[in-house]
Subunit: 260 residues, 2 copies
């Protein structure tokens, strides 16, 4: 099942996507909802980020190649994490597919993409064993963890380095009933493939992250967990198009623009 | 004016506090509201955290004594920040006054308080000059940034070190029309004064934080910014009572309990 959130005639709704059309839903797929008799061509609606999460978690390093690529840039040996290290991202920085990633005026460069699998929590999770973790997942979507490397490295926190307005594209929609180890994730910069990796190569899998998080911090319906990225990509500049495609989900496409 | 959020007979409302009574308000003080003709004795309602913020920002080091005290513990020279360094806290970890701070079973100790002034944003702030920053403040409340030092130092992120369930007490209410430089902040552990400091001693003041944040990330009504703490306090154990009092606001009181 494919769930989207969209705007039409100034109204925001959840919808179910099928055969190029979206059927309007009243209510919220994570609570109570009803499927209406209103249907629209997908091309006629504006897709929004498919969820506004109360908390947006981002996995710390979760692919060996990312740890190694980032370390190589710094001229340092790779430092592999010894346990899942969740961080937070600003929910206000979330935008949807086809929206603009804005580069601030004082941003000196090295704005880079990080294609990520995004896991949407469906049921409250508190001290959940690994074997039951996936029962708490509603579905999967795509995130792009836009990062400005000089700020990320110079600042004490990732505030400017990862959380400027518009720097958290997510979408295009949420797909349910998927195997989180079976995704192929491709990052394309102006059509050129920059990364092509498998969610099976995560250091810790979705089940383990949910287990570990829920041991200390209850996860609530609508919370979203971005699962980390592979590799170390290049710089984006205004005028560029960046896409993250995940097999079985779709493509998250965004455009880099100057603040101007 | 004093704004609270409270529960009575299973219903959650905003209210205005005056002379030991709370007057129920319909709607939301940050948007549209109406003052009802329903009034209750404060003692008859359960106060909740006065706001559920979309984003809970926490100032990185913002008092010299905290930088120095934490550095001394590590046996390292103090490293003063060169710019405001905002971080995030989990909005799910927020509790109200008189609620329990729960120490997880596998927590080895060194759970410590950090009394903090909390600034509640009232108006959307985007690239706000310092001189206009306070126009975007709705009011002030109190936060206690509970921190587990071994996890804070060992982990890559502050997830476990600062964001376990119940570790973000906030309250008891929001007071408007205050001078953010004029607060006296007192932390009491089982009645003993652990810290007694002034908001005038912040490295960067409220105006500067709002200006800096808003240059990169738009602040929205209801967002809350915790302004950092002074000193380096001791350990709390189950059975302890921890209070943060701020002049002109009130007292945030919480009880430390074992998970059990």
């Amino acid at each position: 099942m494919i769930w989207c959130r969209y705007q039409l005639d100034g109204k925001t709704s959840f919808g179910i996507v099928e055969d190029g059309r979206v059927t309007e839903v009243w209510g919220n797929p994570l609570e109570d909802y009803a499927v209406t008799n209103h249907s629209h061509a997908l091309a006629d609606v504006k897709l929004l980020a498919p969820i506004k999460p109360p908390m947006l978690y981002a996995a710390g390093p979760n692919y060996r190649g990312h740890v190694e690529g980032m370390a190589a840039r710094r001229g340092a040996p790779p430092s592999y994490p010894d346990r899942p290290s969740p961080n937070y991202r600003s929910v206000h920085a979330i935008i949807g597919t086809e929206e603009n990633i804005v580069v601030p005026d004082d941003c000196s460069g090295a704005v880079q993409p990080e294609g990520q699998l995004a896991v949407v929590i469906g049921k409250t999770a508190r001290k959940v064993p690994v074997s039951e973790a996936l029962d708490h997942v509603f579905g999967y979507t795509i995130g792009n963890d836009i990062s400005q490397r000089p700020w990320q490295q110079a600042d004490r926190t990732m505030f400017r380095g990862k959380n400027c307005d518009t720097w958290k594209p997510m979408g295009p929609w949420i797909v349910t009933d998927q195997d989180p180890k079976g995704f192929r994730i491709i990052v394309r910069h102006n059509g050129e493939v920059w990364e092509d990796f498998s969610s099976a190569d995560q250091i810790w899998d979705t089940e383990t992250w949910i287990h570990e998080l829920s041991n200390y911090a209850t996860l609530y319906p609508g919370d979203v967990l971005w699962m980390g990225t592979e590799g170390a990509d290049g710089d984006m500049v205004p005028g560029d198009t960046i896409e993250v495609e995940i097999s079985g989900i779709g493509t998250l496409r965004n455009y880099v623009v100057a603040e101007g």
